[in-house]
Structure formats: structure tokens, C-alpha cells
């Protein structure tokens, strides 16, 4: 079994009209045994920037701690929050530092940049950025997620529509993946509020 399939994960981020959604599954497993059904894969970096980390859970936790540390230092020096594009470059640099002994994680970064323009990005485990204008996926369910998002995505969706689309794409993809699932966690972020919702899914 690949090291990426040790814990199991599913992450997706989508762009809407002046908003974005980032969603993950909630299972934490050790190969085929489930050990937690409320695992948080998506963390807030600041009010308008969210980071999801798929892959090996221990590397995801360590990487998250390092990135929060760097962001806090940035806030102290610059007296402002990091822009999503800058944060993506930071994550890419930190991952490439470990080119020959990498963190076994695939990050998904989603944020609102200047003028509330949504920004999403994913990377492979050594920091190769992929900036997309529509959606990005990561995790063991990524192949199903690619297919689901490709067909369900529409341009310029309102926050409520975006929530429905992201939820349906996530739930239908994790249902086809043994290693991810047990519900969903969706964040829909607009310039004025963050809506966090927990989805009911198949518990198998």
C-alpha cells in the first residue's frame, strides 16, 4: 500500500462568484481500520485563507504547525495577513526544501485575495503548484473527485449553489473510495462570513 493511502483522505476546493468552498471527508484510518470519524483536515490560517492537507496525517499535522508558525512571524513583521498567492509560494518552498525526503502530504489552499477574488491551488508532495480557475482535488479519492467535479462544476455559482455542488461531488466520490468518507466537512467563505457545515454521509 502506498504511503499516501495509509490514512485515507479526500479534499476538494471550488471557486464560485466572489466566494470559494473547501471540503474534506472526516475519516482517519490506519490502513483498513477506522480510528476516528471526526478528523479535521481543513485548518484556518487566517479569516480569509484556509489550508487542507491530505495524505499522511502525521506529516499533515507537522506541516500545518510549521506553516502557522511562519504565518504568525509574517503577521508580526508585516502587520497584516498573508495573501493566498504568497502563502501558496511559501508552502511550495517549504515542501521543495525536503525534495529527497518529502512530507507525504498534498495541500489544498483556498483563500480570498485582493478585491475578494477567490484563489485556489493544490500541490504535489514536493511543491509543484497547480493554480486552477475552477476546482482542485487531492487525496485517495482524487480520481473520482476529478470526474465528479469536471461534470458538476459550473462557472460563477452563488454560495448556496456552490455548497450543494461541492457536497454532492465530495459525497459521491468518497462513496467510491474505501479509505475516505464517514461524513463531510464543508467551509463556504464569502467576503462577509464563513459558513461551516457538517454533512451526513454513508458511515462505511
Amino acid at each position: 500500500m502506498s504511503i499516501f493511502e495509509y490514512n485515507g483522505s479526500a479534499l476538494v476546493a471550488m471557486v464560485g462568484k466572489n466566494c470559494f468552498a473547501i471540503a474534506s471527508d472526516r475519516r482517519l484510518g490506519v490502513q483498513l481500520q477506522t480510528i476516528a470519524t471526526d478528523f479535521q483536515r481543513i485548518s484556518k490560517i487566517h479569516d480569509r485563507l484556509f489550508l487542507g492537507l491530505s495524505g499522511l496525517a502525521t506529516d499533515a499535522q507537522t506541516l500545518y504547525q510549521r506553516l502557522v508558525f511562519r504565518h504568525k512571524l509574517y503577521q508580526l513583521r508585516e502587520e497584516r495577513d498573508m495573501k493566498p498567492e504568497t502563502f501558496a509560494n511559501l508552502v511550495s518552498a517549504i515542501l521543495y526544501e525536503k525534495r529527497f525526503g518529502p512530507y507525504f502530504c498534498q495541500p489544498v489552499i483556498a483563500g480570498l485575495g485582493d478585491e475578494d477574488k477567490p484563489f485556489i491551488c493544490t500541490m504535489d508532495s514536493i511543491g509543484a503548484k497547480e493554480l486552477a480557475k475552477d476546482f482542485v482535488v487531492a487525496g485517495t479519492a482524487s480520481e473520482s473527485l476529478y470526474g465528479a467535479c469536471e461534470s458538476m462544476f459550473k462557472q460563477d455559482m452563488e454560495p448556496e449553489d456552490l455548497f450543494e455542488t461541492v457536497s454532492q461531488a465530495l459525497l459521491s466520490s468518497v462513496d467510491r473510495d474505501c479509505l475516505s468518507g464517514w461524513g463531510g466537512h464543508v467551509y463556504v467563505v464569502t467576503p462577509t462570513e464563513v459558513k461551516e457545515r457538517i454533512l451526513k454521509g454513508r458511515m462505511d
Partner: protein, 250 residues
């Protein structure tokens, strides 16, 4: 060692690619496809493979995506520092030497195969750089998984002293040959024309693979997703602006 115990190493994102370059009458034309793959899956349908090195030098990259991006970014920064230091326009051979020294140092583990082209005071130059650090200087070059398909086009149709439009047409044909015949390359054609006067980056110059099958109605989900819990966090304004406040005391 890990592989023996049955742990397979992760598959990195590659740009299984077609990248080409040719020298024409007034300079250099570079071309690339725009597909990035992760194993057999296409992870990016429109990525950028022609990287900026200097205002007069561009570099196409094939191989592991993180390696090509990191090595071209690093050498681009080194070239800028060098420009500040010398006060002169960068030369293509400078970029070439910086890249090949770095790649040789890592003995091929930094998997970046590059086509470097540019125009400097000594004229137009085109080079290929292999992951182990060897280089070639050529009038026309191709790299990547689609290099054989593209080279077939170049070998039959290239001639010296091509005009700008002929050169762009030939580069586009070579990349298209890679896109349609090589499974690792696909999507659109990017072209970059570099001359003494300046550069012209034609992003998505040709889009021979548009998406024609989308249903205009799209998906609508009448049955709502079941939600267990909703938490709404309003984002407050960080700074309160007080109009006509008191003046600060000295």
C-alpha cells in the same frame, strides 16, 4: 529500502510533455503543450511550461514539475542578481552554465529536462539541457515524452532563415504532433517568440482541444444535501474608522 517492504514511493506530478525550440531569422521561438500528469491522470489541463528566466531568455521544462519550476525560478533569481552586479543584459550561456552545474551536482536526481532559448548581444541561442547536466547547442530541438513526434516534424520541415510566421507555424505543428500522438502531452499550444527587440509570449496560441460536450443546463440538485450542523462566523471589519475624531495630544 522502503520499496522492498512493499511501500511504493509516491508518484510526483510530471509534465510528460512536448517542448520544442527553433532558431529563426531574427531570434528564437519556443513552444510547449499544456498538460500536467500525475501517473495516468491529467491533473492540470492548462499548465504553463514556458518559464521566465530573464527579459530576453525563456526556458521550457519537461520532467518532474516541481524540479523544473524550482530550478528555473532559482536560476532566474541568480541571473537577476548577476544583472544587478554587472549592469548588463543576461547572456544565454550564463543561464546554461548555472543550470547545468546545478543539475550535474545532483547527479540526475533533479529530474528536469530543459529547452533554453534566448537572444543576447552575441545573437540568438538555443540549447537543450538533460537531467544529468549534459547540454547540446542546436538550431532546432525537442524534449519530453512527445519529443520523437515533434522531432519528426522538425526534421522534415525545418530550414534555415525561417520568417516569424513560418517559424510559429512550424512550432505549432510540432507541438500538435506531440499533443495528438503522445499520450503524455495534450491540451493547448503555448508559443514564445524572442527577438532582439523583445519577447512575445503567446499563451494558448492554439486550442485544438476545446470542451464541446458540456450540457448547457448543467447539474441542478433539487434534493438538498443532509446537513448535521451549521456554524456561521461573520467576518468583522478589522479597523474601525472614526470620522472627525479628536486630534492627538502632543
Amino acid at each position: 529500502m522502503l520499496a522492498k517492504k512493499g511501500v511504493n514511493p509516491p508518484s510526483f506530478r510530471k509534465t510528460g510533455t512536448t517542448i520544442v525550440g527553433l532558431v529563426f531569422q531574427y531570434g528564437v521561438i519556443l513552444g510547449a503543450d499544456t498538460r500536467a500528469t500525475e501517473g495516468p491522470i491529467v491533473c492540470d489541463k492548462n499548465c504553463e511550461k514556458i518559464h521566465y528566466m530573464a527579459p530576453n531568455i525563456y526556458c521550457c521544462g519537461a520532467g518532474t514539475a516541481a524540479d523544473t519550476e524550482a530550478v528555473t525560478d532559482m536560476v532566474s533569481s541568480q541571473l537577476q542578481l548577476h544583472r544587478y552586479h554587472t549592469g548588463r543584459e543576461s547572456r544565454v550561456v550564463t543561464a546554461l552554465t548555472l543550470l547545468k552545474r546545478h543539475l550535474f551536482n545532483y547527479q540526475g536526481y533533479v529530474s528536469a529536462a530543459l529547452v533554453l532559448g534566448g537572444v543576447d548581444v552575441t545573437g540568438p541561442h538555443l540549447h537543450t539541457i538533460y537531467p544529468h547536466g549534459s547540454t547540446d547547442t542546436l538550431p532546432f530541438a525537442t524534449m519530453g515524452s512527445g519529443s520523437l513526434a515533434a522531432m519528426a516534424v522538425f526534421e522534415s520541415k525545418y530550414k534555415e532563415g525561417l520568417t516569424r510566421n513560418e517559424g510559429i507555424k512550424l512550432v505549432t505543428e510540432a507541438i500538435c504532433s506531440g499533443i495528438f500522438n503522445d499520450l503524455g502531452s495534450g491540451s493547448n499550444v503555448d508559443v514564445c517568440v524572442i527577438t532582439k527587440g523583445g519577447k512575445e509570449y503567446l499563451r494558448n496560441h492554439l486550442q485544438p482541444n476545446p470542451r464541446t460536450y458540456t450540457n448547457s443546463k448543467g447539474y441542478s440538485f433539487p434534493k438538498k444535501t443532509e446537513v448535521l450542523l451549521t456554524k456561521i462566523i461573520p467576518l468583522k471589519e478589522k479597523v474601525e474608522i472614526i470620522e472627525g475624531g479628536d486630534a492627538m495630544e502632543e
